[in-house]
């Protein structure tokens, strides 16, 4: 099995991270934004796995699992809020959520 160089893995993670970030910046729909965040988190997770692989340690994979768990918790809360947001604002457009400013 050919070893994937660390640099390549990190590069991929970086690209993924950037895609997620870009999605966050350009999307207005709250669901897509949540998805973008997930991509960013997973990019970080990927980076951990790559790093762990480099040092032949399980720590990277453990971190990935922790990330998955916390992301799930986060998404659970976020989706609940999305529901409430939709009920109260009748939209999923985050730009509508600007009642507080200044």
């Amino acid at each position: 099995m050919a070893v994937i160089p660390v640099e390549h893995g990190l590069m991929l993670a970086t690209v993924l991270f950037s895609i997620g970030l870009l999605g966050l910046l350009v999307r207005r729909n709250i669901l897509y934004m949540l998805m973008s965040v997930e991509i960013m988190l997973n990019a970080a997770g990927l980076a951990f796995i790559v790093a762990g692989a480099r040092w032949s340690q399980p720590d990277g994979q453990i971190m990935f699992m922790i990330i998955l768990t916390m992301a799930a918790a986060e998404v659970a809360v976020a989706l609940a809020l999305v529901l409430r947001f939709y009920r109260q604002f009748q939209t999923l457009d985050t730009d509508a959520a600007n009642t507080m400013r200044g």
Partner: protein, 626 residues
């Protein structure tokens, strides 16, 4: 005997005590007691001064000066100044004039001011003035002298503005104070310079050091600065503008302060500090030039005045110009002699004028007077004696001897010819305006009613001074008339001697003849213009030249435009303080920034995220690449 010497301090202290008594308890003292206290203290001082003068001649003190240290005033490190008195022959002359003429004027005032409601206040100020003036002339160091110097300025301010209800008087008073203060500041700076250069303000030590050091630019600068103080106080060009306005005060004040004593403080200062001027020949020459210019300008201005007191005021300026001329020419004793005679005849003129003014119910316009010769004979004769002395009528008047001494010594000094010519021209003008005044006031037809006669308290000083205006001239006779030098040999204990003594008698006679001719010419011209009744009423003030002269050659106009108006208008315009704008701008700038920052708080999630991304990128760049 030492006991008498130790009484030196009482000469200024007596009038001061009078002032304090009147100031603190004035409203509980009867008018009679007020005048007793006021006149009494000054007379006592005069008496003491005479005693000292007598002792000075009979038993000359060590070092030709009485000295007395009073108390230690300011000692800080190397700076050390005591309150101490020193009475030498120069001071002696001043003290005598101040106390004796002061006493006479006090006496005169008891009648002149009799009806004034602020009688006590008047005498309090007058006493304070005498005390301050005596401090000025007796001080043995410059700072103590400055105390008296400012003190007399204060009294001058208070007395010019004595009738404070008329804002005009208040303005005149403030003007006098401010203009002289400009000079005072120069003098103050001069003192600072002298202190740091010589390490002392004690006059004798200082002058000793000056003589040792000789010529240096420090001395030139110091002389210039002291001259600044002197011209302010003595009303010389270009700071002469305050003196004519100072006539707003009661007439005795004009006589005492603005003719006889205070205004000559500048002369005293220069004479006192003579080594500095001697070692700064350029500045000494400047003194002479200022004197010459002043005497000419002031004399011309006097020609066009309508107010009798303003004529006398300009005449005072002009006569002090002679003294400056003399100082500048190195004729120290001549200057002091002219001061001496001038004090007498000018006080006389002012008091006589005061008598007229009172009699005419405070009418001062000469064109509304006339023909008073018969109705007020005493005043007429004394006034005439004073006028003749002022115009320097040969042989019989004091003014002749003093002025002639000045002109002679100016002529014989270096570069003195032109200055002498100016002096002679001045003599002509003096005679002209003096007799213009006499003809207008005493001759012709009477135009105003006389309300009040002249009482004893006013008449007595007039007569005494009239006598003086004739007699004192003989204290000092020129070489051609016997060379009697009582005054100059007395004063030359202190002041350097003159240089013109060995000039030929024929030159002296010739010069005398020229100036005599000028005087007579002046009187004659005055007679032709104002002597005949027909022309007397013609008012010349309408012509442009007359207007220029009447307004004092436009100095007031110039200062008003160039300094006073910009200053006060600027201050009023800037009352809200332009610096505030700086902070207002700062505040609005910050607020503008704050509001634009507040706009970044748009409430939009994507924008917030963008900011975070931006921050992260910047952070990464800073951390990784910086």
């Amino acid at each position: 005997m030492n006991f008498v010497n130790s009484l030196l301090w009482t000469i200024p202290a007596l009038p001061l005590a009078g002032f304090i008594t009147l100031a603190l308890f004035g409203d509980r003292i009867a008018r009679r007691s007020v005048s007793r206290i006021a006149v009494g203290t000054v007379s006592l001082s005069a008496l003491l001064a005479l005693v000292f003068a007598f002792r000075f001649v009979t038993a000359p003190p060590e070092g030709q000066a009485f000295q007395q240290a009073l108390w230690s005033w300011i000692h800080v490190g190397s700076f050390s100044v005591d309150a101490a008195l020193r009475l030498d022959s120069l001071s002696m002359v001043m003290v005598l004039v101040v106390t004796v003429i002061g006493a006479l004027i006090h006496l005169y005032s008891t009648e002149y001011m009799a009806d004034d409601e602020s009688y006590t206040r008047f005498f309090a100020y007058l006493n304070l003035f005498v005390a301050a003036m005596l401090t000025l002339v007796l001080a043995d160091n410059l700072l103590f002298l400055f105390l008296g110097w400012e003190g007399v300025g204060l009294c001058s301010f208070l007395l010019i503005g004595f009738w404070y209800e008329d804002p005009k008087n208040g303005r005149a008073a403030a003007k006098a104070f401010l203009v002289t203060r400009i000079g005072d500041v120069f003098m103050l700076i001069g003192m600072l310079l002298l202190f740091w250069h010589f390490g002392t303000l004690h006059i004798q030590t200082l002058l000793g050091a000056v003589n040792t050091e000789g010529h240096s630019w420090h001395l030139t600068l110091a002389a210039l600065l002291l001259l600044g103080g002197a011209i302010g106080k003595s009303g010389q060009v270009p700071l002469q503008v305050w003196l004519p306005d100072a006539m707003a005060g009661p007439t005795p004040v004009s006589a005492l302060i603005h003719a006889a004593t205070m205004v000559t403080a500048g002369v005293y200062l220069i004479a006192r500090m003579n080594p500095i001027f001697i070692h700064a020949p350029g500045i000494q020459h400047l003194v002479a030039v200022i004197g010459a210019v002043t005497l000419l300008i002031a004399g011309l201005c006097a020609l066009a005045q309508r107010d009798i007191k303003r004529v006398l005021a300009y005449s005072t300026v002009s006569q002090i110009g002679y003294m400056f001329l003399a100082l500048g020419a190195g004729a120290w004793s001549a200057a002091m002699f002219h001061f001496f005679t001038h004090a007498i005849f000018k006080a006389l003129l002012f008091m006589a004028a005061g008598a007229i003014i009172v009699a005419l119910h405070h009418e001062q316009d000469m064109f509304k007077m006339g023909g008073l010769r018969r109705r007020m004979p005493l005043v007429f004769w004394t006034y005439l004696i004073g006028s003749l002395s002022l115009a320097a009528l040969p042989l019989v008047t004091a003014g002749f001897y003093s002025k002639d001494k000045i002109l002679f010594e100016v002529f014989t000094s270096e570069h003195g010819k032109l200055l002498w010519a100016v002096g002679v021209a001045g003599a002509f003008i003096t005679a002209l305006y003096t007799f213009r005044m006499n003809f207008l006031v005493f001759f012709g037809t009477q135009k105003s009613e006389i309300h009040k006669g002249t009482g004893l308290a006013m008449a007595l000083p007039l007569m005494l001074l009239a006598a003086g205006a004739t007699v004192v001239g003989f204290f000092e006779l020129p070489a051609v008339f016997g060379h009697f030098t009582l005054f100059s040999s007395f004063i030359e204990h202190t002041l350097p001697g003159t240089h013109g003594d060995h000039a030929s008698h024929s030159l002296e006679l010739m010069l005398m003849a020229v100036s005599t001719a000028a005087v007579f010419a002046g009187i004659a011209v005055a007679y032709f213009i104002w002597g005949s009744a027909a022309k007397k009423s013609s008012d010349v003030t309408k012509r442009p030249l007359s207007r220029l002269l009447a307004s004092g050659m436009g100095f007031d106009w110039l200062y008003e435009r160039a300094i006073v108006s910009p200053y006060s208008a600027g201050a009023r315009a800037n009352a809200a303080d332009a610096v505030n704008a700086l902070y207002t701008a700062l505040v609005s700038g910050i607020e503008a920034i704050a509001f634009s920052l507040a706009r970044t708080q748009s409430g939009r999630l994507r924008w917030y995220m963008a900011a975070i991304a931006f921050g992260a990128v910047v952070g990464i760049l800073l951390v990784v690449y910086a």
